[in-house]
Amino acid sequence: MTWLRLHLLAVFHAFRVRRDLGRESRLTPASVSVTGTCPVSRRVVDLALLASRRAVARLCPVDSCLTRSLVLCRLLAPYSGVELHYGFRRREGTLEGHAWVTVDGAAVGEPDGALEGYAETDVPPSRAAFG
């Protein structure tokens, strides 16, 4: 049941991201704030990761780290310890940006070394003011 629920929610959130992209040609993750209080199991995190990636790949016109992270973060929002991050690094003169999700400080779905050299923004997007 968890599997089905997460997939349906992922589809819903992917449609929201798609709608945001279409309306404003930019993403405004104002509703990404995470307020959950109950801990999340490793199994639910893995299922949410898979569901979010599938939903974004199938439904969003832009399949990027940001769209995937927004959907994943919204899926995990009912749980505690979930945080969306933005980071930047410069490689051979080129500025690179990345978005990712952590649960209790551990990055979700990021290969080893993928976050190397990224400097995070001082205010995480899930705590930023959107007014």
Binding site: P29, R90, G117, A119, T121, A129, F130
Partner: protein, 95 residues
């Protein structure tokens, strides 16, 4: 002419949670507007000035810091600072 009130206003805006910053290993930086999802890439001097503005430095204090840190003369420092503050103001105001 650098005005205290203008510099104060920019510092207050920068201290709000709407604008977040990342300082990169090469001391350059990126500023992100959470609401507009806009970003501004900052060179080393720009990142330095943003940090000084956040700390509440006065216009003359900013010029002093530029002169000391980057070993430029006062007139050049003041001119570059005015230009940077104009650009920063445009970013913060249109976000």
């Amino acid at each position: 002419m650098l005005m205290d009130a203008e510099v104060d206003r920019l510092g207050t805006l920068l201290r709000s949670d709407r604008f977040s910053r990342a300082k990169l290993t090469d001391r350059t930086g990126v500023m992100v507007d959470a609401a507009g999802m806009k970003m501004l890439s900052l060179n080393e001097t720009g990142m330095f000035l943003v940090e000084e503005l956040v700390s509440g430095r006065s216009p003359e204090g900013l010029v002093d810091r530029l002169v000391k840190e980057f070993r430029v003369n006062r007139a050049d420092a003041r001119r570059d600072l005015e230009k940077f503050l104009d650009e920063l103001d445009r970013f913060l105001s249109t976000s």
